[in-house]
Each structure stands twice: as structure tokens, then as C-alpha cells.
């Protein structure tokens, strides 16, 4: 039986399990002690507990100094006071100190209205900052995906924790000490010269405006206003499961129809769906899997197995930096975003009679790495990118507001055809395990020639960091692994490198939870229930779809018949596949 502890918090008698922090005990009782650096994504086993901001201090009877509620365990008979004059003075003074080293340009800050520090200043009713003095001065730096403005950093260490402990990327570190301490890539270099994968998890957890996305909204406004341009848009599966949060809808409300309607209102010429390209990805990746398996079972020992999914651009960056020795393992299939761009600027453009140079392909993504991905040289034709640029869910939400659209009052609308049609398989790409589940639905039928009756592969769903399952592929036991979060991915990758991997196929998503937890999504503010709700929304949409297997998408079938030929055929290879590069550092003797 779990041991419990009785204590008193502000005149409430509280009983909590042993090991509970004062902060959790207080909040469980309805006493919302303020906190800033602390973050706990329970379902993902991700927590940030440096106990360093000192906003959450409380008075504990018999203790010499104040205790940080986040990092102080409850003890039997403890008497805690959260609102004494001493506590409130300390909280206010500590916040004033933070603000004394923070620009007060809230009105023009990209985080305004969504900033934890701003909210705290409102809550503690700060009206003046009594401390004048030196302010940290750091040069603002931008990469294709992320803008770093460290003069706004409050040194909560969340980004550092994400980058190192969760993602094991190690691009960001705490540097210097004392007042000069900050978070930075090594040698103060720009992120673009570091190992950064642009997964954006640092941005997803930053409580202030120090880390934000490289915003492309204004570029879109110009393009939409330009009559010479045909502007089309694709929306990633995870966007529809989270966009509603920006309009105060409960987490997990799927807003697909309203989103389409809003995009049409904004003036896009066509509103298409990345899910269409997700179905296409399954055709290519699934075929590649079956091809490698067939050759392997035929006795070809040179076949690179396990095959790894390659839809996640941050994940691609990760293995290019850290696993350049096994670049032949991942599927060569491009991500859905890039498959869409490639097909849109070839097949669709020809069909629609639009010249490539007049066509602007925009993507709405839950992701920051997608911004970088569409700028990669491999995805350009004569310098023109297949996808011109990518916007995040957050950027879309703010644009909808700027276009005077009453989002919640919009009627549902449908995507345009042909590239708006998708199956349930494409929808679940947005959550961890979804790509693998979609691939299994198709691979099973292609491999066995039989109809798959139950399309739900429950074993690959859920928030566990590494999931494994064995699937009977008509007598062949296919072993699959799924990892979300790059730290988990690293674990599986190291097994492969050391030749002790048991898997035939592995799905990897860089962000915890998959794309629903992407760096471009509405901020979760430490609430992991939001991520679960988003995931459930996608599974619900999948369940409601007419067709749930990618190879049954009529427009995909048509696309192959009319244009591409066979999956992993020559044309498909040219338009839908890519190759990877060694981005690691090499030491050269002089």
C-alpha cells in the first residue's frame, strides 16, 4: 500500500502520497502556488525541476529560509504557509529581479499574450521595477526555423533540459556563469552551425519570448495579395487536432472543416491536405519496406534492415549529424510535405495549367523543422523550392485572427480535390505510432493479398517512449519498434549501430507524442493531457473515415496510373525520394 503523509497547507489538512512535492500537494487542494521554471509533462516522463527561479517559495514552519514548493517534499506534520507577508514580499522581489533583467517591450514581443512571465507580472500586479541596472545583452540570432533572443531568457533551463535530456541533441548548453550565464550553442555560434535538428522542442517549452519560430506570416500576406500568383496550401494532420486551442476550444477538438473554411476565406486558391501526401508516403515507404523484406527473406544479407521511417525532418537532421555511418538504413522516401510539394509543382501544376514560377506552395505544419526542410537544396528545382515556405499551427491561428475571421462561427468545409482526398491512414500520421500503423495496414494487404479486417493496431498507440510490437504478416513475424523523442530514437539507433537491433521496421518522430507535440503547435504550458487529447482526436477522425487504408485512396491510385507508374519505380524515385548527407564534424590534420 502506498504510504501517505499528512500535513497542513494554509489551514487545510492535506493527505498526500509520500514523495509528493509541496507544489503538487497545494495545487491538489486548490491552492495554486505560482511557479515559473518548473514544468512536468507527466505522461511523457519529462520534467524540469531546477528549483532555480524561486518564484514558488513558501514558508515552512521551523525552517530557517523559504522553501521552493516545487522541489520540497512533503513531510509528516509539516506546516506550510503560501501567502504570508514574507512569502509574498519574496515572490514579488524575485519577480522584480527577473523583470529588471528583461526587456519590457511586451507590446511588440512575439510571445505577448502567451508568455508565462507576462502572466506572472499581471498576477503579482507588478507596477514598477525598482531595480535599475545592467541588462543582459545578447545579439538576436535567426536560423531558418528558430529565432533566439537571449536577452529575454529567464534561465529556466527548460530548453536546455529538452535539448539534452529528452532529445539528446546537445545543441544548447548553459554557458558562462553568474549574471553572464545564458543558454547558447557551443562557442556562441548560430544554431545553424550547431547540431540543432530544429525539432523546436526548446521553443515548445520556452516560457518567454527568448525562443520563437521564424515567422513567415508576412510573406504569406504578400503572396496572397499578389494576383499573379497561384497560392495553394497543404495542412498537416496534427494541425487540425490542435488549432482549436488557439480559439479557446477544448484540447482535442478536431477543427478540420473550420480550418479548411478559414483557409479558403483567407484567399488560398486551393486548400489541399498533407494527408493526401501521407497516403502517398505509405505507398512508397510501404513498398520499400516490402522490397527490402522480400530481398532479405530471399537470402540477400546486404539488405539494410531495420528500415526507418523518414517523414520527420528533425529526425532526418538528427541522424545526419549523429549517425552518418548508417545513412543507408532510413527509407529514402521524402516526407509527406515534400512529396506534396513535388507532386503539386509537377503533376498538379500541369493539370491546372499553372506555371511553376507562378505557383506558391505553402504548408501549415505543427513543426519548426519543416521550415528548414523546405529550404533544403535537394527539394528545389532550378533553385525554386517545391514547398515555398512553411507556417506553424500558431502562425496560422494568428493569421486567421488578422483576417477578421470568426473561426468558431465558420461552417465546416471540405478540402479541394484531387490533393485533398485522404484516408484514415494519412490522418494518424500526426501522432506517434501512426505512420507505422498506416504502413502496416497497406503492407499487410500488399504482402498477403488478403483483406485486413481489424485495421486498429492498438499495440503501437499510446505515449510510451519506446513501443514494440510483433505483427503477423501472413506467416512472417514482422517486428516493429516505435520511438518518439530523439533520446528514445538514439537508444534504438545505437542498438542498430551495435548490430543488436531486433526490429525489421522502426518509426521515429522527433517530438514527444509525435507531430501533435510538435514545436509549432499551440503551447502546452506543461499540460501533457493536451497532447493526449490531440492524439485521441486524430484516432477519432481516422475511425470516422470511409477508407482507412492508403492504397485505397482513389486519387492516389489515379496518380500512379496517370503519372507516377509504380511505387518505388523510376519516376517515383525521382520525385518522391531523396538521399541523406553526412553532417557530422570531421577532424582534419593540418
Amino acid at each position: 500500500m502506498e504510504q501517505t503523509i499528512k500535513l497542513q497547507i494554509d489551514h487545510h489538512e492535506v493527505e498526500v502520497p509520500k514523495g509528493t512535492s509541496i507544489l503538487d500537494a497545494a495545487r491538489g487542494t486548490g491552492i495554486h502556488v505560482p511557479s515559473l521554471c518548473y514544468m512536468n509533462l507527466q505522461d511523457m516522463c519529462i520534467s524540469n525541476l531546477p528549483a532555480s527561479c524561486r518564484i514558488c517559495v513558501v514558508e515552512v514552519e521551523g525552517r530557517r529560509n523559504l522553501a521552493p514548493a516545487c522541489a520540497t517534499r512533503c513531510e509528516e506534520g509539516m506546516k506550510v504557509r503560501t501567502t504570508t507577508a514574507r512569502v509574498m514580499n519574496a515572490q514579488r522581489t524575485v519577480l522584480e529581479l527577473i523583470l529588471s533583467d528583461h526587456p519590457t517591450d511586451c507590446l511588440v514581443c512575439p510571445k505577448s499574450g502567451n508568455c508565462d512571465l507576462q502572466a506572472m507580472a499581471v498576477r503579482l500586479k507588478i507596477r514598477d521595477i525598482p531595480f535599475k541596472g545592467e541588462r543582459s545583452n545578447h545579439v538576436k540570432e535567426s536560423s531558418p526555423s528558430i529565432i533566439r533572443d537571449m536577452s529575454k531568457c529567464i534561465y529556466c533551463r527548460r530548453c536546455e533540459m529538452m535539448c539534452n535530456k529528452v532529445q539528446t541533441v546537445g545543441a544548447l548548453t548553459a554557458v558562462n556563469r553568474g549574471f553572464g550565464a545564458t543558454i547558447s550553442p557551443a562557442f556562441g555560434q548560430p544554431l545553424s552551425e550547431s547540431e540543432c535538428t530544429y525539432c523546436g522542442q526548446c521553443v515548445a517549452v520556452c516560457p518567454v519570448g527568448a525562443l520563437t519560430e521564424n515567422d513567415q506570416s508576412n510573406r504569406l500576406l504578400d503572396d496572397l495579395a499578389n494576383p499573379a500568383k497561384t497560392v495553394i496550401v497543404q495542412t498537416a494532420p496534427a494541425v487540425r487536432a490542435a488549432l482549436g486551442e488557439e480559439f479557446d476550444l477544448p484540447a482535442g477538438t478536431a477543427v478540420t472543416g473550420k480550418m479548411v473554411a478559414a483557409l479558403r476565406e483567407m484567399g488560398f486558391d486551393k486548400v489541399f491536405d498533407t494527408d493526401f501526401a501521407a497516403d502517398l508516403t505509405i505507398m512508397e515507404e510501404g513498398s520499400e519496406l516490402l522490397d527490402r523484406l522480400t530481398r532479405f527473406l530471399g537470402g540477400d544479407k546486404r539488405v539494410a534492415l531495420p528500415i526507418l521511417t523518414s517523414c520527420c525532418p528533425a529526425w532526418v537532421n538528427f541522424f545526419e549529424h549523429y549517425f552518418p555511418d548508417i545513412l543507408d538504413i532510413p527509407s529514402s522516401a521524402r516526407s509527406p510535405q515534400q512529396m506534396f510539394g513535388s507532386i503539386a509543382k509537377s503533376w498538379w501544376a500541369r493539370q491546372a495549367g499553372v506555371k511553376r514560377e507562378d505557383l506558391v506552395v505553402v504548408s501549415i505544419m505543427p513543426c519548426l523543422a519543416k521550415k528548414y526542410e523546405c529550404a533544403r537544396d535537394e527539394f528545389k528545382v532550378d533553385g525554386d523550392p517545391d514547398v515555398n515556405y512553411s507556417l506553424t499551427t500558431r502562425e496560422l491561428a494568428s493569421l486567421i485572427k488578422r483576417y477578421n475571421i470568426d473561426f468558431n462561427a465558420l461552417p465546416d468545409a471540405d478540402f479541394d480535390n484531387p490533393m485533398g482526398e485522404s484516408t484514415g491512414a494519412g490522418v494518424i500520421f500526426g501522432t506517434s505510432g501512426g505512420v507505422m500503423e498506416a504502413a502496416l495496414r497497406t503492407a499487410y494487404e500488399l504482402h498477403t493479398g488478403k483483406t485486413l479486417e481489424n485495421v486498429n493496431f492498438e499495440s503501437v498507440r499510446g505515449m510510451k517512449g519506446i513501443k514494440k510490437a510483433t505483427v503477423d504478416l501472413g506467416g512472417f513475424e514482422l517486428k516493429i519498434g516505435i520511438a518518439h523523442g530523439l533520446g528514445n530514437a538514439r537508444t534504438l539507433l545505437e542498438e542498430i549501430r551495435e548490430k543488436r537491433s531486433e526490429y525489421h521496421a522502426i518509426e521515429i518522430m522527433a517530438c514527444p507524442g509525435g507531430c501533435i507535440g510538435g514545436g509549432g503547435q499551440p503551447l502546452h504550458h506543461g499540460d501533457s493531457a493536451r497532447l493526449k487529447a490531440r492524439s485521441n482526436a486524430l484516432y477519432a477522425e481516422d475511425a470516422g473515415k470511409k477508407s482507412r487504408k492508403s492504397h485505397e485512396n482513389p486519387y492516389i491510385i489515379h496518380l500512379y496510373e496517370e503519372f507516377l507508374g509504380k511505387p518505388i519505380g523510376e519516376k517515383a524515385h525521382h520525385l518522391l525520394h531523396t538521399s541523406y548527407f553526412n553532417k557530422s564534424k570531421e577532424i582534419i590534420e593540418q
Binding site: N164, T173, V175, F187, I588, Q590
Partner: protein
């Protein structure tokens, strides 16, 4: 692929230092001490090699190097000058001595003169409090230094190349 270039003998000696410490991350500070002992400072390239040997992100190495005041990324002058700013020396006027060195050399603490001959630093207590205020040039200790002595001390190194 990003390339880092460094002379072969430096690379070899760094690899040897790391290997001596079992390429263990826990030994990072000892490794940095030895590397700085051999090379005089820890430029970026050196940190990259150490990171690679220990199989850790170079940011980790850089984070450590910038935390500890003993480690430096810039080479010191030929004659490194350190003025003790421990409390005992401070109350006996070491701040004025330091100011005079700054003025004479026209550099700030932590800088090297343009000709590379002197670098100026401050340190906290060399434990010769009986001699306060104390200044060091290289390993040589100067005790009971006054502002007027600064000129004499610097002149000692005039002819030393």
C-alpha cells in the same frame, strides 16, 4: 560535413590525454586541465577534439570551459601578470596596483597586450597574505607591491624576449 583542422601532433596529444583518462566524461575537467597545461589555452578546435573523443556534444565541453575561471579560450601573454585580489591584499591596496597595471599596459583584466608580451589577470589569494599586496609575473611572486613598483616590475621584462 563540418571540418575542424588542427595540427597532427596536437590531435595526437589530445587523443592521448583523453585515452589516459579512459575517454570518460566524468574526467572532463581533468582532461581540460591537462590540455590547457600543454597548449596554454583551449581554443574551439581543441574542445571539438575532446568532445569527439569522449563522445559528448561539444556544447557540453564549452559549457564547462566557460564555467570555470581557470580555463581560458585565449592564449595568455608571454609574461602573464596576476594581481591578487584576495581580501588581505585588497585591504592593503591591491586594487590600486591592479589599476596601475591596467593603466600602464592599457589593457583590461583578462586581456593581452597587442604585442602579446603581457596579459593581465586577477586572482583570489595566493596564500602569501604576509606579503600583501601580492602580484605574480609568471611564477615569480612580488610582495608588498606599491603603485610605484609597477613601473619597476614591468621594466624587468623589457629586455626579456
Amino acid at each position: 560535413m563540418t571540418t575542424i583542422t588542427l595540427s597532427k601532433c596536437t590531435i595526437d596529444s589530445l587523443i592521448e590525454i583523453c585515452a589516459k583518462h579512459g575517454n570518460q566524461t566524468g574526467e572532463l575537467i581533468n582532461i581540460l586541465h591537462e590540455a590547457q597545461g600543454q597548449l596554454g589555452y583551449l581554443p574551439r578546435e581543441v574542445q571539438e577534439v575532446i568532445a569527439k573523443q569522449l563522445n559528448i556534444p561539444v556544447s557540453r565541453v564549452y559549457g564547462v570551459v566557460t564555467f570555470y575561471s581557470f580555463f581560458t579560450m585565449t592564449p595568455k601573454g608571454k609574461h602573464p601578470i596576476s594581481v591578487c585580489m584576495g581580501t588581505a591584499c585588497y585591504v592593503r591596496g591591491s586594487e590600486k596596483v591592479l589599476d596601475e597595471f591596467k593603466r600602464r599596459l592599457n589593457v583590461n583584466v583578462g586581456d593581452v597586450t597587442p604585442d602579446g608580451r603581457f596579459s593581465l589577470g586577477s586572482l583570489r589569494c595566493v596564500g602569501a597574505c604576509g606579503l600583501a599586496p601580492v602580484a605574480l609575473v609568471g611564477d615569480k611572486v612580488y610582495g608588498r607591491v606599491t603603485v610605484a613598483d609597477v613601473d619597476k616590475i614591468l621594466k624587468e621584462y623589457d629586455d626579456k624576449e
